[in-house]
Symmetry: C2
Subunit: 375 residues, 2 copies
């Protein structure tokens, strides 16, 4: 049994192709990808196992598997716009992003890849930001850049764009929700190009993927995942910026918020973050002081820190009885995989195999912290 995802090694072209096919296949998200690689040892073996897994999980029709030609086409398209497809564990992969448990297996990055290895702070906030909010975001990003930090954001209107503009010269990273050929909002295509001069635009989606509403919260985990801390400027209640702040907390990142008038609904969410203990920011020094000790301990360059030793594949399929024992324990409320193993009394590898089957059949969802639930 070899380490499934090795660190600091480049994939071969064939491996990269298999990784891309696997992550582009139906019902395979970043967490399932990792579980498959852990279970089958590499992407090619996992691809071969997909149809059987889905069938045994109860899928009426096998999930669609990305073809070799489709993957080759995507790789060529990525190359044609001057972007690179960087795999989890490769030297150019952002080290902090590597540490989140749903890190994308492959990211398409366009620009100066070296910024991905530098200390990074995220700035997010309202799309309909006030003039003062925009001015402050731009100033803060410039000051953080002058202090040697890279600024990450989401290329959205308002605060995001201001944060990128303020840090264009010092290096900024835009994590986008769609593919590189579908910059959103479209009028930020010029800003995206400007970012790549000294920074990076980054996407985990197929290059022509049109971003849908649900892609934005998913993308937000990349913004916080890239950074050691997230600064929220002007966030209304139930805004996307608060989702990024929540993800930052789940990922163990520092959360900062900029105070604002209680009469401005755009500051309600950010002021509430302050009430909940976020660090108050009125100048770049507040962020730098809080993050200095974190930057002084660089992230562990380990592609994965499994919560438990990975059990070797049992070399056999789960039996019908074993499958039933596990599905009976599952419901819509997320439950820990460790609990499933304990409560079912089955070998861990069998439990994981059943979960993969259900996942590939589209009936199981993987959450953070080793939790799973029925869809």
């Amino acid at each position: 049994m070899r380490a499934a995802i090795s660190v600091s090694a480049h994939l071969t072209d064939e491996e990269r192709l298999a990784w891309l096919r696997l992550i582009r296949s139906q019902n395979v998200g970043p967490r399932t990808f990792r579980a498959l690689i852990d279970h089958y040892g590499d992407a090619r073996a996992a691809l071969a196992a997909l149809p059987g897994l889905a069938r045994r999980g109860g899928a009426s029709a096998p999930g669609r598997i990305a073809t070799r030609d489709e993957a080759l086409g995507e790789i060529r398209a990525v190359q044609s716009i001057g972007a690179a497809l960087v795999a989890l564990g490769e030297p150019d992969y952002p080290p902090r992003l590597m540490m989140i448990d749903d890190a994308p297996p492959l990211i398409a990055v366009r620009g100066k890849l070296a910024v991905l290895l530098r200390p990074t702070v995220a700035i997010v906030g309202a799309r309909n930001a006030s003039a003062a909010g925009i001015k402050f975001a731009e100033r803060l990003a410039r000051e953080l850049g002058e202090a040697g930090l890279v600024v990450a954001s989401g290329l959205a209107r308002g605060i995001d764009a201001a944060a990128h503009r303020g840090s264009l010269a010092s290096g900024t990273v835009a994590a986008i929700a769609g593919g590189h050929n579908r910059i959103y909002p479209p009028e930020h295509a010029t800003l995206a190009d400007a970012i790549t001069a000294d920074g990076v635009v980054l996407s985990e989606m197929p290059i022509d993927h049109e971003p849908r509403a649900r892609d934005f919260p998913r993308r937000n985990r990349l913004i916080s995942g890239l950074a050691a801390g997230v600064v929220v400027i002007e966030a209304a209640q139930r805004s996307g910026s608060l989702i990024t702040a929540r993800m930052a907390l789940e990922q163990g990142r520092e959360v900062f918020a900029v105070p604002g008038s209680p009469l401005d609904p755009r500051c309600e969410g950010s002021n509430n973050l302050l009430k909940q203990g976020a660090t108050l920011v009125t100048e770049a020094g507040d962020i730098i002081a809080a993050l200095r000790p974190i930057f002084e301990r660089p992230p562990q360059l380990s592609a994965r820190e499994p919560e438990r030793p990975i059990a070797p594949s049992p070399g056999r399929e789960p039996t019908a009885d074993e499958r039933t024992r596990i599905t009976t324990l599952l419901g819509p409320t997320p439950v820990g995989i460790d609990d499933l193993i304990r409560l079912s009394g089955l070998p861990p590898a069998i439990v994981r195999a059943v979960l993969l089957e259900l996942e590939l059949a589209g009936t199981l969802e993987r959450h953070g912290g080793g939790l799973v639930s029925l869809v």
Copy 2:
């Protein structure tokens, strides 16, 4: 030896007259007043001792002692505007104010005295407040009033006036820096009259005293002293509102601050209070939640809580040698009276007598926490 200042007892007219003469005499502030009453038992004995004290303390000319006629004149003037002269320890004296170590011996109060006994919150802030700050102050004061709290402030322009306006109907207290006949700013005379309908205007100064710059910081201790907590809205760095916040901390009061834009210099001081741990306020509920446990334990109705048992008067004057031993230990840096007693090896009553002499001669200053220094 009787308790020098008794609680919940009314002064006789003669006692009130002696108190007023004593506090209006030269070099007698609230702390000296207490020390004199402690040392001599009552105000009349202290008045008789003043000339000798000042002379022995090295004053070239004895400090001016307020005459009986002057005091009678002030009492009549206070009565003529419908105000009352309430003494420390009397039932109408605000119970929290009674607890600060430089509580004024006498306050001239105009309006509905009953509000002085109710739970109180102070609201202070910028004179050149923004429209949003004024709107928020008025709303917050109204909501606090609706929740049964009295709002105290300083009758200044901007935030103070808005806080009073918002709580006119529910009861508000204005602590002013000058005398009742010298309302500052003059255009707030109408507001002061409106306040007295259901609240109180309060002054420790002679009724015709024109407020000087140094009277405002001194007055600020009354605003915080009246309240269980102080809310700061829009305070610039080095502003009077920050002085009130500092006094609130010294008096053991809660400090609250309202967040504001980092680009607005009027919010720099209040945002800094938040960085230093003040409770963030965006609505009245934030204040009420924090103060409820404090209001549930009403202040101890004790006029004084001496840091140490008061030593009986020795019945003799300090000797020249004793005087020298103490003055040698004094300098411009505040030092504890307890340390002076320990380091001099003299009886506490002798040390206190020497300090009173120096004080009345105008060469000693009393600070909070039992500290004294040469002027």
